[in-house]
Point group: C2
Chain length 409, copies 2
């Protein structure tokens, strides 16, 4: 039961010139399921990605990093669900490489021009033979107008596909941005989410792409959490196909650079927030805003401590304004010299805590009213400095336990 | 439904010379509930404590630290449940002090010779008047043979009281150790658990007490976690009444010092493990042992990452050997230069992972067999150094959500 999230309407997803997508049922883990996607890029696209900082990163993540560094020009992405190919050692690397080689042969390109992605169960051997057998059907399916099918094709425990588009004028030329993401659990991205892909037909030199990918991730996928578990397979890839003939972006501080990045950030945030809205068992979408910090790091420490606290998350599930649990989480967030007398807490517009203690005018029925909503902002003031940051999360329900106790059965 | 934990049999709890305990029903939050305890110490006891590192520490914690530093000699402890007196600002400090003054008058001692403890809901005003009104009944109840009642009197969401005794010979004289603890949720002690008290009639100079309290906490309460939420009120107090006339302990490296500390550590570990066994919703008791680390810090980082992962904890609840989730947690534990090819994983005697990948001889039915047990050891080898450390935790069930969604109602 996702929180205020609906399946994307294909008519609202704009094709991106230079990108074609095909989806197939390869029977990787279960039959009759779209579990294999290929994304084909025309030659000349600029591509960059950010990947999990989990030291146990999956084989495809290691290969993506390697292939991006080689700089041969990325021409395709190969994405499977049902198996993460993580914790699989050298054998996992060999199997991932075999799938790249198989697709490369069909496309007559080098294997190093392909980025592989896997998501699913950890520590089981990747059925590379099924992926290879499924590639021809995925290629036959390839077309520009296929983003909605791809969003469905990369789902695992997601209840809804996630895809958004935007358009923005650059030099009076219409530029299109479309992205998809997947993820619902094992979500505390520390570079990007399980899988996120965005493409634009704007003209962006390759040299500017890594900064773009990093900045977009930091403002979106790196600010959401469901359960605090950083995945082994987090990957976020940004593509610029350079098809629209505006003057190529010269820097991210230029007017055109800012406009493009802002539009792309809007899509990235919707994609990231969609993961929280579809968080396993989620019934509420919670924005944790921390202001008055001395640094981004300390704002995020506090925001994540609150967003990860099982006690806070279950209280929100219960609509119980047991808000002292938020203060406890603020207190253990790891700011050694935090002064509790400077802490303030608002729940939406309700002023709950002032100078570290209960606001004398706070009434529990006001807190209870906000707790009933499906979208709630927790705003914590630290009273230390001028930095603000925000993390998005969801509550913690019976269904989270149910989904994760049953996931493999 | 606690895991392999039963209520203490009072006949197995030895009185400690120099300690009397009284319990009363003061109606602090609910009627007909033992919610107020006094612990009376003869003059001359050595006392030390360790307290939460949560920056939002409760008023009684702040007062305990102050009173211990004054060195007037601690003569009593006053413990209430039903209200944590945390997040209550200056008013909370005044109310806690008022309860100390009330008890001090009855005992004809200084208020600074009293240590106050509170546990329960955060951010609600402490009903000091009810505590003061309940003190006479608690004092009338005071007797040496009352440890079991006290263990009951400090319970909140605990399903069972927690108390253990041990005896050890020091210089051929029998020394007694008895302790009690409480806690089931908001458990990730970072000095001590919610509340733990231990007393011995051994002779220990005051100058050695702080080291003892710290060492005992580090080997017991600082190695358990239920949900990763460090409480605002964690307190662990160790008392030596100096009643047994052996030569006073001269150091913790002496033979007598080692023998006493080992016996006390045994009780402290049982008290700490009892909290995990009674962890909210717990169905399994899990030992997370990490060996091959370069330092205690990195062993603990990995052990806590695994012990806190909702995905690992729900898999154990489901008895599902989805053990890749353990590898994912090892990978995001925060060791920047971790080499996944050196990781090994055992589940009890079952060798699951070798050189970072699935052990070729591992069979899922072997993992499934161990997962069915109520007591399981996860042993992770890091292949980096010679340090080993251990953390105790429990699984994560529907009932954890239920208990914490319903706690205040």
């Amino acid at each position: 039961m996702a929180v205020n999230l609906v399946a994307p309407n294909p008519v609202n997803l704009y094709p991106v010139a230079g990108v074609k997508i095909g989806v197939a049922e390869a029977g990787i883990r279960k039959a009759n399921r779209k579990d294999l996607s290929v994304v084909l890029l025309d030659a000349g696209a600029s591509v960059a990605g950010v990947f999990t900082q989990n030291r146990y990163c999956a084989a495809p993540v290691q290969i993506c990093r390697d292939h991006l560094q080689r700089g041969l020009g990325i021409r395709a992405m190969l994405i499977n669900t049902g198996n993460a190919n993580a914790g699989t050692g050298d054998d996992g690397m060999a199997r991932a490489r075999a799938t790249c080689i198989a697709l490369a042969r069909k496309l007559d390109i080098a294997p190093e021009q392909i980025l592989p992605f896997s998501t699913g169960v950890i520590m089981e051997p990747l059925p590379a033979d099924r992926i290879e057998a499924g590639i021809p059907a995925a290629l036959r399916d390839a077309q520009a107008d296929n983003w909605a099918r791809a969003a469905e094709g990369i789902m695992t425990t997601d209840t809804l596909p996630k895809a958004f588009s935007a358009q923005v004028l650059i030099d009076d030329k219409m530029v299109t941005i479309t992205g998809i993401s997947k993820g619902a659990g094992m979500i505390r991205p520390n570079m990007a989410t399980m899988l996120g892909f965005m493409a634009t037909d704007a003209s962006v030199p390759q040299a500017l792409m890594q900064q773009l990918a990093t900045d977009l991730a930091n403002g979106s996928f790196n600010r959401v959490t469901v359960d605090g578990d950083t995945s082994t397979n987090d990957s976020f890839v940004v593509i610029a196909t350079n098809k629209v003939a505006h003057a190529p972006i010269s820097s991210w501080t230029s007017a055109n650079g800012q406009a493009l990045k802002e539009a792309m950030m809007g899509v990235a945030q919707k994609l990231a927030q969609a993961i929280v809205r579809d968080g396993e068992g989620a019934t509420k979408f919670i924005t944790v805003k921390v202001s008055g910090g001395n640094s981004t790091d300390e704002c995020c420490k506090v925001a994540y401590a609150v967003a990860h606290s099982p006690l806070v998350k279950t209280a929100f599930f219960a609509s119980d304004p047991n808000l002292g649990r938020i203060l406890a989480a603020v207190g253990y967030a790891g700011i050694a010299d935090l002064d509790q007398k400077k802490i303030s807490l608002h729940l939406d517009d309700v002023h709950v805590v002032t100078h570290g203690g209960r606001n004398p005018s706070y009434k529990e029925e006001d807190g209870a009213r906000v707790m009933q909503q499906s979208e709630i902002t927790i705003h914590i003031g630290l009273g230390r400095g001028n930095v603000t940051d925000t993390v998005w999360t969801c509550d913690f329900s019976y269904d989270y336990v149910k989904i994760n106790a049953d996931y493999r059965s």
